[in-house]
Structures are given as C-alpha cells and as structure tokens.
Symmetry: C2
Subunit: 320 residues, 2 copies
C-alpha cells in the first residue's frame, strides 16, 4: 500500500512513528513535510519540521523535548551569547548545527532542498520517503500587535520568542493573521504531486491545521492534487475536547477565523464530496475540500454529526 | 612606543603574550597576522592563525594543544563523521565553530576580514590591535608527491592531514614547493602599511619564516614597507640548535632551499643595510632585505658571526 502523509513537526513526526510501526513490510510511506517554518540563522538554512521528522523517525530526537537532538551540547549557543550575536531566543544545539551546516553547504553548492533532504536521510534512514513540500523558499509570517506596533514576524519568532509554544496560557501576543510568504509562487517539490496521485491512501496527521498542513496546502497545486486524488483522504483531529493535542493550534486557528473544535477544523479542511458537487453546480473559485474522512477522539463524539453533515465521514475513536 | 609584530599561529601568539606582559601601559602593539593558512570548511571561513592569536591573547586558547578553544566540545565533528561529510582530518570544535559562523555571516553580509576581526576582538580583548595581512583571499598551497602523483594541496592538508604537524620524524611527504596562491594580487589590509610606517620598532616573532612570516611578506607592498620603515626591524630565530622551536619550519625551509639554521633563516630574510647599499649600486629587482637585528639562542652562538657578516646585527641570548 502506498501511503502519503502531510506532516508538520512534533505532532506529525510522532504520528508517523506510530504509523510506521503499524504498516506491513510491503507498505511505503511518503511524507510531504512543511517547510514554512524554515528560517535562516547565522547564515544557515534551518528546517525545523523536516528535521523533527527526520530525527524522530531516525532515532536521534530529544524525546522529552520533542525537537532537537538527543545527547545535545550547547557550546555554540553559549559562544553566540558571548559574541553578542543573536537571536538568543532560538536555541540550536551543536549536533543540530551540524545538520544545518551540511544542508547549507549543499544548498550553496546548488543542490535543491529535496536533494539535500534525501542526502541527510541516507544517514537517518527514517523508513519513509521524506519530501519537502517545495524546493522554493516559503516562510510563514504571523501578524501581531505588541509594544512595537502591528507587524509581521517570522513564525519562529512568534512561536518561540513570543512564547506561544511555551505556555498556551501565557502567549504574550495574539496571532492576528497567518501569511505564508512566497507560497503563492512556490512549486511543489519533485515527486509531491506524483506521490499524491499514486497514493492508495492519503493521511493528514494531527499536525497544526494552519501553520503546518495549511502551509503545505497553500503551495499551488497541492490542494488541487489532494482534491483530485483517486485515493481517500483521511485526517486526524489535532483538537481534542477543544484543546490542541500539542502546541498552539487554537491560537493560529483564531487568526484564520476557525473555532478550535474537532468539527470546525474538519469543515475548514472541507469535504472532497462537497467540492465535487459544488463544481458540478458551477461553483468554481471556491477552495477545494480535501477530506473524505475524519477521526476524532471519543471526547469529541458530539462533533461527528456536524462533520458528517458537511459531507465528511467521521468516526470517534479512543486514543491509545 | 608603537610596536608592530608580524605573526603566524602558535609561536607568534605565545611570543605576543610574553611581549604584552613586557611592555608599558603607554605602549601599543599592532599585530599583522598571517591569513595564508585560512581555509573554507563546511562553507565557513576559518582563519587558524588569526584565531590562535585572538584566543591566546584573549584567554580562550586550549593551552596544551596550542590551538583551538579551552573547554571545547566536539559534537559537530562527531556528527560530520556520521553524515560522511569531510574532511575528517581537520578538527573544529563546537566553540571554534561559533567563531567561524559569526565571521562567515559577517563576510557574507559584506564586511571585510579586517572589520570582522575587529568585531571578534571586541569580545576577546586581546590587548593588541590585530590586523589580517590582507582582506583578499590568499591560500598557501604546498606541492607534494605521494601515491596520487605530484600535486598542490592546501597548506592545512599538508600540515594536518599529511601529519607534518604531528611528528616531525614521520611526515608522510616532503614539501617540494610553497605557493602563496593569490598573494601576487592581494593588497595589504587597511592600516597595515600605515602601522609599519609609524612603528617605533618592528618585530618578527619566531613564527614559521616560510608559511607564516614569508606569506605576509609575499603580499605586495609589505616587504617593501618593512625595508623602508624608519623603525628598526628585529627578528627572533625560530630555529634553535638546528630544530624549529615548534612545528615544521625545517620541512618548509627545505622546500624553499634554505637550511634550517638560525643563520640561514636570518640571511634569507636579508639585511636592510645590504639592500640599501645594493639599491645604491643599482641593484633593483632583488628582493628587499627586512632585518636590522636578529636574536638567536645561546645554542646557536656560532651563527652570530655569519649573520653579522650578512649585515644583520646579531645577539645570542638564553631563552628563559
């Protein structure tokens, strides 16, 4: 069976690790990874989501933290502080730096991000085929208002520096809008559309529906490919009982005007069936729906009816 | 007193540390550092000699090793081995990497190596003004013959990989020629010629006379500036009793056809007095001599007469 999964960082990576254990020896997983939270730091290209997937599936992740490397050292971070070179809010460990050094050197030499990712995976052997959503630069920015006024900051600055990731109760600023800069002109990476078209099943893990899956879907051609794929598309709710499984999905959902409920997220992804009928009625110009099925936690059993009313098959199941 | 010193790596740095302790509060030291052993690794600009001077004078050097950082960690080196990304023979510690990251990012942003060095020294406070010999790229290559035939390799590859540095008895290959690639078109860095012209005394520490001091002198204008300086130029022999104080000066001296003796090195630097008389006799085209005085160890007392016969004042003194 050919399985395609879209994935962000921690949530997606952990889902994939479970998926990899559940499949048979003949099954193949292709992961289309979000690159919208990529950032350039110290002149190096950092791809947090691709690396989290690669490290998690390759056995190098810091388990408790969920990102970065196990057995990490922090000498460079300490040195950067001595040099007064920022940003202090973004922590890159020494082992992690090695990945960014290798990646950056290959990119400078002219390799694409797809080629670099494949090369890095020669070492990590993640057991999946890991593709970046695009070889083009896409950066998710977040509009905020703080003491410096209203402005757009890099997603990582919002997520890490403004403490959105640290404690959902103490986010210093609200995300007012999510802007995937560069997404409108990005092209899907080689193999992405082909994998979607050839899949037997397509999965949307419980990754952030806005800044992870949403950014992947913002690359022109990917949403349409999901809508048109012969395989069923099944998603897993990242919201359980009104709270994100992990992270800050609720905060960025608010920025795009979607309620942080299992049902609202599914309906925002939209039903592939509804699109097909809408298209039949001449409803061109609407955003294509991408879901056939949706899995929610039993805590959200009440969402099932609303999701099914939107043309998406929905089942409630207990997390194990 | 305005003191100018040319310097390579370990030998020069240790000499400068002693010099700094010996001078008065009104005295100023300007160091013109060799950049011929600079190398690009992992896409970063590495300046081994400038860093050795900076770390040694700034209190960050690994004392026993003589190069690199104290309290170093080696995570990146271990990772690079896992990625199969070379060169394995060149060891950069994590703290050291931070310096190269900051330097490379500033160079990419358009700063010159002089400006970057000044910025790094804001942290290290070496107590001297540290100038690279040139902001232009100069790379010392060494011609060797091994199982792969006759070829030129980067000085660092000769010095580190081919074990010239490890054990003088077991150098795998001979240096057949020393080629300062790029030196012919390099310009002295801002302030270099001015410092030489304004100096009260100019010192040549016991650094390698070929690949350290020799490379600095190969930058057009620097040798002539030394020859023409109003201040006396005094050198310290890097050879004591026929052996280099440290490193492999004897091996590279052989490559340029100079005996590894305290006298031969002085005579190869040449007498400023001899030049002046040679010029008076229309001896243009000769390489200018750069020495007024030469200090040798008492073990080389026999060299004094030969050096003085060459027009260079010479004294034998015991190392303390």
């Amino acid at each position: 069976m050919r399985i395609v999964a879209l994935a962000g960082g921690i949530g997606g990576a952990r889902f994939l690790r479970g998926l990899r254990e559940a499949i048979g020896p003949e099954d193949e997983i292709t992961v289309i990874g979000n690159t919208g939270d990529d950032i350039h730091l110290y002149g190096l290209k950092v791809c947090p989501d691709l690396d989290t997937v690669m490290y998690t599936l390759g056995g190098g992740i810091h388990e408790e933290q969920g990102w970065g490397r196990a057995d990490e050292t922090w000498s460079i971070k300490a040195e950067m502080k001595e040099y007064g070179v920022g940003p202090e809010w973004f922590g890159l460990g020494d082992r992690d730096f090695a990945t960014h050094l290798v990646r950056s050197q290959m990119l400078t030499a002219g390799y694409t991000l797809s080629q670099v990712t494949e090369a890095l995976c020669v070492r990590w052997k993640p057991g999946v085929r890991l593709l970046p959503m695009s070889d083009d630069r896409v950066e998710t920015h977040v509009r905020i208002t703080d003491e410096n006024g209203t402005r757009a900051v890099h997603f990582q600055e919002y997520w890490v520096r403004l403490h959105a990731a640290v404690d959902a109760e103490h986010a210093a600023v609200d995300a007012e809008a999510i802007i995937p800069v560069g997404a409108d002109t990005a092209k899907p990476a080689p193999g992405v559309l082909e994998a979607i078209a050839a899949a037997d099943v397509i999965l949307l893990p419980p990754s952030n529906p806005v800044v992870s899956i949403g950014t992947i879907l913002a690359v022109p051609g990917i949403r349409a490919a999901l809508a048109a794929a012969p395989a069923p598309v099944v998603g897993l709710s990242p919201i359980i009982g009104g709270a994100p499984v992990r992270g800050m999905a609720d905060k960025v959902l608010a920025a795009v005007g979607v309620e942080a409920t299992a049902a609202a997220v599914a309906l925002d992804y939209g039903s592939r069936a509804a699109l097909r009928s809408a298209s039949g009625e001449g409803g061109g110009g609407r955003r294509e729906g991408v879901l056939d099925g949706w899995l929610v936690d039993t805590a959200d059993e009440a969402a099932v009816a609303a999701v099914e009313a939107g043309g998406i098959a929905c089942r409630a199941t207990r997390r194990t």
